[in-house]
Amino acid sequence: MKSSPPSDSEQLHMVLRYELLKYLRGQRLFGILIITALIAWLMLALPLLLGRGYPSDVRTFPSTFLMFVSILIVLSATFFGSDAIVSEFQQRTGYALFPSPIRRRIILLGKYVASALSSLLAVSLYYAIIIVSSQAIYGTILDELVLSYYLAVVYMLSILAFAFLLSSVMKGTTGSAVLTFFLFQMILPIIDVVLNSADIDPWFSVTNAGGIISSILTMPRAMGGPGPGGSMQQTGAAVGIPYPLYIPEVLSSLIVMINYFAITLLAAIYVFERREL
């Protein structure tokens, strides 16, 4: 029986389907959707349960929601991206998959698309809840909210690509998951704050660029700030330690995120294709 292997795009679709099956059977997809719904429910229910009601300003309500989008994206990257490649090595499943007539880059891209679709589902659900709630409570949907959704999708793609790079490099699934979560949730944000306090514009940081997702609703969008990233605003005054805060701009943030996406995804492919089992 001599059959020719399907085209790369057909094989990518196959890898994608079986990867989605993994998320479904492993309850990962269900888990992230539950977390998404739980965050949204807390945001909606807590003000009412505490008897404080929703803010009167139509801008404040969604901006509170948007503060948690980046956490959701980092969780998605941890759930779907952090072990996607490293597990093939650590759990030895690569011994069955790699001797098949399929290019490694197609395996990686198929897995990437599956994790992007799963993450997109969670992010879209979250934004759908915000948009429906905004409409129900205030009778309007801000244009910036829709723009924030598109920016969140680009940020998600870049964080996932970075997670795939870590997964291609790391030796173990646990280490990869821990590093993915803490890198985007703690380490890079801390570096952003430190650079800000040292009066250095962290325009090149992907987490700083991701800040545009929520700041688009709350911060003035002035072009041409002090650095290439965006505008500067004095802050920290509330605690008596004023320090400059560089607010990312939409365009520069997009460029930074797209660059991170392209560079880290290509690097992930490069490493994965050369990694030995």
Partner: protein, 300 residues
């Protein structure tokens, strides 16, 4: 090459179609490295490897399209069943759903996993995973099979069944490239042997030819009653006897050099000295003598 360690040293080995080749060598000889290069799990620092005349490094997709491989004991996605795993593999190889369905049934029957076809692989034992590995290697009925220790992890019955499968493949004219530590297994199923040591190819030839390299055989003799010193003395002086080792009062291990006719004479001589033999059995394979002899020479 791993850092400064040379895993394979100028290895030049060509396997003709339809040959069942046993790939032998001590631990660290480079057998698994060779198999991993052929199956694209690692890339050589220099040199080329071809399958069906196609370079595995430059065009792995085409090179592996008509190849089935079992490398070490692979793991499978625990959330899939054997049927689903074979379906995945079949789709990646461009098989139609009908072909996948028919072949899956056949190969799962061959490896005795039919009743587990729809159970999650996550619950499988090591031996069952090894059978599963063989099933996915056979799924597309490939012209070339690369098997790294194919009976590893199997019980004696499983080992026998796998050997029978390999013999059938050989009869069908498939090319089998098989590494194994079990010399008797290689002797039973393969027709050609390649011996590797320290990354170098020491010898590659037909088993019949190589067996003649070492004419020394080990024969285990069991007697009904304990052997006397006089009988032992006689045995040591028989033609062809190199050494005699008494492993218990009634059991002897004789190292003997000679052909089948000389062995028959030895048998008669033992009876001639009044030994009440209950068994006269050559032990170890012919290949074992050759292997030890050649490896010993290689060390020197």
């Amino acid at each position: 090459m791993y850092n400064s360690f040379v895993a394979l040293d100028n290895l030049n080995l060509k396997v003709e179609g339809g040959v069942c080749l046993g790939f032998l060598g001590p631990n660290g000889a480079g057998k698994t490295t060779t198999i991993k290069i052929l199956t694209t799990l690692i890339k050589p620092t220099s040199g080329k490897a071809y399958l069906n005349g196609i370079d595995v490094t430059s065009d792995p997709k085409a090179a592996l399209s008509d190849v089935g491989a079992v490398v070490e004991t692979p793991e499978f996605y625990p959330y899939l069943t054997p049927n689903e795993m074979l379906s995945y593999q079949g789709e990646l190889r461009g098989m139609s759903s009908n072909e996948i369905s028919e072949r899956s049934k056949k190969v799962l029957y061959e490896v005795k996993l039919t009743e587990w076809a729809d159970k999650s692989i996550g619950s499988f034992s090591r031996g069952m995973k090894q059978r599963m590995a063989l099933a996915q290697a056979l799924l597309h009925d490939p012209a070339i099979l690369i098997l790294d220790e194919p009976t590893s992890g199997l019980d004696p019955r499983g080992m026998h069944e796998v050997r029978e499968i390999i013999k059938t493949l050989k009869e069908k004219g498939k090319t089998v490239f098989m590494s194994s530590h079990l010399l008797s297994e290689v002797q039973e199923v393969c027709d050609t042997v390649a011996l590797l040591d320290k990354g170098r190819l020491i010898v590659c030839d037909k088993i019949e030819k190589l067996s003649k390299v070492s004419p020394v055989k080990k024969i285990e003799v069991r007697a009904l009653v304990a052997l006397t010193d006089s009988q032992l003395d006689h045995i040591c002086r028989f033609t062809g006897v190199r050494s005699v080792k008494q492993t218990s009062s009634q059991v002897l291990l004789i190292e003997f050099e000679g052909d089948e006719g000389s062995m028959a004479e030895l048998h008669n001589s033992l009876l001639g000295i009044g030994l009440k033999m209950t068994s006269f059995k050559p032990t170890g394979s012919d290949l074992e003598g050759m292997y030890l002899e050649i490896i010993a020479e290689s060390v020197r």
